[in-house]
């Protein structure tokens, strides 16, 4: 395997493992704010108990998120140093802003959230919980901004150092291997970089996916308690909060997915075509519901709905969606391959600018199928809730639904992972879309052997971490919330909340 592939594999592996945790922190952050807010408002001790229990689950996910996140911050330098030199002027500031605005906020106030129950008053504690949630969201903002810039670069120009002086290169300059030590991307407009064409759509999509991950973890554990007939008051109240957040996020996610796909049509048509397995440009482009891509014959095999993709992309059932055989367009190819003059020659070089279509198709469809399944689950669950059946565990249908809800925790995790794999593999062969090739971004001095060594190291460490995480989470679930004894150790200032609200009632 080449050093490039190994480096990609390592980044994918470390990022995928890391990404199991931050969405939980972001989603649980929202849930914690709601639970503690409800506790302060109603004075009902069950909410206090919930906030305490879910904080402990949060702590576990957060610690592993921090530990695996440090790797990500430095992996650009270790494995992608040519990329880092090339885009550091732009990409670096987003990462630095993430540290200053997000990570400090999150980890600083986390101290009070976890250990401050007896040290500060209820209002300051609630404020800290809010700050942790805000910090978690800020971290998503800056990292998605940085990643979106790689998908749809904006607000920059390329410049070349000639005799120690920078010379501005025209837009559309083709970066050659000899450029790599002299050319770099330079910021023109910071806000155009931040609000690049895909930032907002993708940020919304990522944050909603994170809310779903956190909410359905709460839903899953609560449903488990209900099925086991344990901690019933706690489980019902937690399930309501989790399901409410999860339902809102899932519904909004359907809308956000539509926006993201429409953005792709405009900004990264190759990625959209690969996700849908569209090779030929044709009127009333069909959508393949599931199946596979046969790369040999360049077709997507599976049940299709005619015209649906045209409708989703353009709002018209007939307008064609451009297929991979016309992407990237001829002018783009001619600029890079002046020797290719005939249509046949162009068709041959064109394939080098396609992502791995069968894989991208599959990841994208996994995300869509899981997303639709989550949507169906939410609709059924809300219906049960509305009819008052959701907690009636003697009803066989309710028990089946609760089993599905126990499993629902996997849905957002699978969809988040598949979505990112689709998004990142769909960007290939580019590390920065239509600017820098992934093969041009790797570290020149890092050998395959070194990457294999680090990969084995991370493989072992992350496997151990994951096993520990699942083990400790299971133990926490088995142990359950503390119940009455927790309120006994509650400080006086907190007990006053219960008394005050009781008097009001």
């Amino acid at each position: 395997m080449t050093a490039e592939l190994l480096a990609r594999f390592q980044f994918a592996f470390t990022a995928a493992v890391h990404y199991l945790y931050p969405p939980l922190s972001i989603g649980l952050g929202i849930v914690l704010v709601i639970m503690e807010g409800l506790w302060l408002k109603t004075g009902n001790p069950v909410f206090h108990n919930m906030a305490r229990y879910w904080t402990r689950v949060f702590a576990l996910t957060f610690a592993i998120g921090v530990a695996t996140g440090i790797v990500m911050e430095f992996e650009f330098g270790t494995n992608w140093s040519t990329y880092s030199r090339f885009v550091g002027d732009i990409f670096g500031s987003a990462l630095a802003a993430e540290g200053i605005f997000a990570f400090f906020l999150e980890s600083g106030f986390l101290a009070i959230l976890l250990f401050g129950w007896n040290k500060v008053g209820p209002r300051l504690h609630f404020f800290s919980t809010c700050m942790v949630a805000v910090g978690a969201h800020f971290s998503a903002v800056w990292i998605v901004v940085a990643n979106s810039w790689m998908q749809t670069p904006a607000g920059y120009h390329l410049e070349k150092m000639v005799d120690g002086k920078p010379v501005i290169l025209p837009p559309g300059h083709v970066v050659t291997p000899s450029d790599l030590s002299t050319v770099r991307a330079v910021v023109d407009d910071f806000w155009a970089m931040v609000f690049n064409p895909s930032s907002i759509d993708r940020l919304t999509h990522v944050v909603l996916g994170a809310w779903m991950a956190g909410a359905f973890l709460v839903v899953s554990i609560s449903a488990y308690y209900l099925l086991r007939n344990r901690h019933l008051d706690f489980a019902k109240a937690s399930l309501k909060v989790g399901l409410a957040v999860g339902a809102v996020a899932t519904l909004l996610q359907m809308v956000s997915g539509d926006f993201t796909a429409k953005g792709l049509v405009k900004n990264q048509p190759e990625k959209l075509a690969a996700m849908e397995g569209v090779y030929r440009t044709e009127e009333a482009t069909p959508m393949t519901l599931f199946g596979y891509v046969d790369a040999q014959s360049e077709t997507a095999v599976g049940p299709k709905i005619p015209g649906l993709l045209s409708f989703l992309a353009h709002g018209s059932f007939t307008k064609p969606v451009v297929g991979l055989r016309d992407l990237p367009p001829d002018e783009f190819l001619k600029a890079r391959h002046p020797e290719a003059t005939t249509p046949e020659a162009l068709a041959l070089v064109r394939k080098a600018y396609w992502p791995n279509v069968p894989a991208v198709f599959q990841f994208y469809h996994i995300m869509i199928i899981v997303g639709v399944a989550m949507f169906a689950l939410v609709v059924v669950s809300v219906f049960f809730w509305w009819r008052g059946w959701l907690f009636d565990t003697n009803r066989p249908l309710t028990r089946w639904l609760l089993v599905a809800l126990v499993l629902s925790v996997l849905g957002p995790q699978i969809a988040n992972q598949a979505g990112w794999f689709g998004a990142e593999m769909g960007r290939q062969p580019w590390i920065v879309y239509q600017m820098l090739l992934t093969s041009q971004g790797v570290s020149k001095v890092v050998t395959s052997q070194q990457i294999v060594a680090s990969l084995v190291l991370f493989g072992l460490v992350y496997a151990l971490l994951f096993v520990m995480f699942i083990f400790l989470l299971t133990r926490k679930i088995q142990h359950g919330p503390d119940g009455e004894e927790e309120s006994e150790e509650m400080p006086e200032s907190w007990k006053a909340i219960i008394t005050k609200t009781n008097q009001r009632a």
Binding site: V71, S84, S454
Partner: protein, 341 residues
């Protein structure tokens, strides 16, 4: 009005961030290094809980310093991290291990479980401190760079005696710093144990620091040449030694907080001495000094440095303010509750 040279401003700011990391994560790495030197479970838990609320905030200083280095001096970031590849991967794994060990250790009461995570915490902290020192040592000594500023050395070349000496010095510095922090956060029997360690830790550190400085003057010729032109660097180093010597006095008078501040000041002065000597280099090339990365040829554009300065001016005072508040909330001696680590 003359605008300050943004490259110099960022040289200082990146230095400040790494110094902040050394002062803050330095004490929790130090606590980790000392973890196995107490045997009682209660004492080990007190060790962990003394840093419990703050350790992840402290590690953020490293992440932010890395981000700032990336943004302000992308070439230095790219050269150092790709060049020190295996050493950095080991450092990252050590940091991961010690971080999760804190979280996992007290979740179960089985003896082997706690012993395993204690060793992971301690070893992870030790290796992290050592590697940070080795990396610093190589930066001071200079590393082989080619004309494109790419690292041209080997992994084993990084483990040269000089850099290992610096690694040992950093381990001792962090251990001393951690012990002083622990003296501030504990009372009773444990406090007496730790107070007993401090004089010898100071002795070990000073001996190592002294040898290291001698070694520098012999093994790293450019340092001697530079400090001849900048003799006040000696003043900074002398001041840091005087402050180290002040620590036993503060401990003797039970003023642990002032001892801790002194220890922080020592780190700040050592970093200052390094910065004043190293300026204007970012990564020194040895043996070809012409290939060195400086604060000018490694830097981002003036525009980005300006944008970053706005971000720093907005963000850093805020960060310092609430970090100070949080340390204030958790002031005083550490005690154990049911949900402590």
């Amino acid at each position: 009005m003359n605008l300050p040279d943004l490259n110099i401003v960022w040289f200082v700011l990146v230095g400040v961030l790494f110094t902040g990391y050394a002062m803050l994560d330095g004490f929790d790495l130090g606590v980790g290094i000392l973890q196995l030197f107490v045997k009682k479970d209660e004492h080990r838990r007190l060790f962990l809980n003394s840093i419990g609320p703050v350790w992840d905030g402290n590690e953020v200083w490293l992440v932010t310093a890395g981000g700032a280095l990336f943004a302000a001096f992308p070439d230095a970031y790219a050269t150092v991290f790709s060049g020190f590849y295996l050493a950095f991967m080991l450092l990252l794994c050590s940091l991961i291990f010690r971080a999760v060990a804190i979280e996992f250790r007290s979740k179960e009461d089985w003896g082997w479980w706690r012993q395993f995570w204690d060793v992971a915490f301690s070893l992870g902290s030790f290796v992290s401190a050592l590697l940070i020192g080795v990396a610093m040592g190589n930066i001071v000594r200079g590393i082989p760079l080619d004309p494109d500023h790419e690292f041209a050395g080997t992994f084993l070349g990084l483990l040269n005696p000089y850099s290992l000496m610096m690694g040992v010095t950093v381990v001792l510095l962090f251990a001393m710093h951690g012990a002083i922090y622990l003296a501030m956060k504990t009372d009773g029997e444990l406090h007496d144990i730790i107070s007993g360690w401090i004089p010898s830790l100071i002795g070990f550190f000073l001996a190592s620091f002294f040898l290291f400085n001698i070694y520098t003057l012999i093994d790293v010729p450019w340092v001697l040449e530079t400090v001849r032109m900048r003799p006040w660097v000696f003043g900074v180093i002398a001041l840091s030694v005087l402050i180290v010597l002040n620590i036993p006095r503060e401990i003797h008078h039970k003023r642990e907080f002032r001892a801790f501040l002194s220890s922080c000041a020592v780190m700040a002065l050592m970093m200052a001495a390094f910065g004043l000597t190293y300026f204007p280099n970012m990564v020194l090339s040895n043996p070809e000094p012409a290939n060195s990365l400086t604060i000018y040829n490694a830097a981002s554009t003036q525009k980005t440095l300006g944008i970053m300065l706005v971000i720093a001016v907005l963000g850093v005072p805020l960060v310092l303010a609430y970090t100070a508040c949080i340390y204030w909330v958790f002031r005083g001696k550490t005690s154990l509750t049911k949900h402590s680590y």
